[in-house]
Amino acid sequence: MTEPPSRNPEKASAKIQQKRPELRVRPTAPILPPSNIQGSALMVVISIMAFLACLTLGGVSMVRSTAASWESQISREITIQIKPDDNLDMEKALTQARDLALTFVGTKSGQIVDEAATARLLEPWLGPGLDLKDLPVPRLVIITIDESNPPDFDSMRALLKDSIPQASLDDHRTWVDRLVSMAHTTVMIGTGILLLVFTAMVLTVVFATRGALSGNRHVVEVLHFVGAESSFVATEFQKHFLKISLKGSAIGSALAALFFATAGFWQSRTLATPETDQATALFGTFSVGVLGYAGIFATMIVIALLTTFTARLTVMRTIYEIDTLRSDPTRTDGIGS
């Protein structure tokens, strides 16, 4: 049942006014219109760039750690090789060479590779049942060294040459140098790719910002007429691009992190299979570790900041250009207000 209308119209009107809810202001909207198709396209581009950047970063760190582990394994040992000679008592020379090497500070232990082990080493090339006495095969002494405090290789080499002219010392420096240069090359290539990715991204953001500025030209004009400073307009665009770039770089970085996690999981599940062994030998383990994930996170932040900074600089510059054109009547290429 509804109430009958009041007989006094003034009272009724006052009642209606009392009942009418006070108008509430909606939460303030951003000065730049919310995201549009252009914004979504830019977000996808930034996602792809972030994914590529994180992939490159992870790849470089994997190759570096693999090269470092190879380097450490190789540089843990040195080898003394003694070539056979008619006047040489091989067994005596081997023992003398080991003892001489162990007199140096920085050596830990020495092991003479005996005839059986030498034969096993040569088996893939010369076949089984090899009698080393029939062949002039060099013999080896393996010396384990302290990596943190290695011996003086040049002095050791000279002393060995003086005592046993048929002996030569291989400190694996050639291999280690090659590995180090390979790792450096990989890092340089990776850095180059990262630079290219960042450059492409900066250029994309410059174009996108200019596009957004011309798409929102009416907003810039209105802000100009209400007395906004360039820095205020730049901050508004900066906020807009920070949101887009944070979303984009977070998606790209998350995908890269997922890729590494999935690859690491696949590798751990298929250990000791020929495919995994081959992949491990080539690329090392796919695990990027906590540092790797921290690097991916840092890349995400760097990309977001780079995008924001680029957008701000582009806006400031473009507004300056617009202002110059607008205020200078001698410029007929100007943009009339």
Binding site: T28, H224, F225, V226, A228, S337
Partner: protein, 219 residues
């Protein structure tokens, strides 16, 4: 307050469209700026707003020669001038309230410090019930009143209006004129650029007539 002396303006290598303009806009004054289409009314308003530099002559705004003012300082000086356009220039994605509050927002003020003032001003121009409406939904007269409210929001010393009644019917034009007169009574100098003779006949005010690049003033 505003002083023009021998001001001339030409676009590019073209002929001088404004020649030897010498006049003052005194404080609390009310004037119409009129002339045929293409006479240069909008260009003159843009120079008054410091948005366009003259090709010759001297312009002093609030006691300062504008040719000597560094570019970053210009927005701060422009804040002392309100401007209203024939095409309103409201932002379509912002509500009436947000459009009117824009001048204070760009000055970095907190919403709580201006909310009441904006709502009062909107009531004063008759838009108290339209605060949450987006401009595409507003009528021509409402849009013009919102644009005027925006220009007045930061209490400018001068209000420049470019054909403010060009897009409204005569009764609304009269309402808007009353609004400008009321504003002038409260102390703001008003310059209305128009070629609406009917509008000018309603008020005894100073007339600045632009013709063939020259300015004639009838007090």
């Amino acid at each position: 307050m505003i002083h023009f002396e021998n001001v001339g303006l030409r676009y590019g290598m073209g002929p001088e469209i404004l020649r030897d303009l010498t006049f003052d806009i005194p404080k609390k004054s009310f004037q119409f700026l009129t002339g045929p289409s293409g006479a240069g009314k909008t260009s003159l308003l843009r120079m008054l707003f410091m948005s366009l530099q003259p090709t010759r002559g001297l312009i002093r705004m609030f006691g300062r020669d504008i040719s000597e003012i560094p570019r970053p300082e210009l927005p701060l000086l422009r804040r002392r001038v309100g401007i209203v356009f024939q095409d309103f220039r409201l932002l379509d994605h912002l509500t009436t309230y947000e459009n009117v509050a824009l001048p204070l927002r760009v000055r970095g003020k907190d919403e709580s410090s201006y909310k009441t003032d904006v709502l009062e001003l909107l009531k004063w121009v008759g838009l108290g019930e339209r605060i949450n409406v987006l401009p595409p939904v507003l009528s021509g007269g409402e849009k013009q009143r919102a644009a005027i409210a925006r220009a007045l929001m930061d209490r400018p010393e001068v209000l420049l209006a470019d054909e403010p009644t060009g897009n409204v019917d005569p009764p609304m034009a009269k309402r808007l004129l009353n609004l400008f007169l009321e504003l002038n009574r409260l102390g703001t100098a008003v310059v209305i650029a128009t070629h609406d003779l009917a509008l000018m006949e309603q008020v005894e005010a100073r007339r600045m007539i632009l013709s063939e690049g020259h300015l004639d003033i009838y007090d």
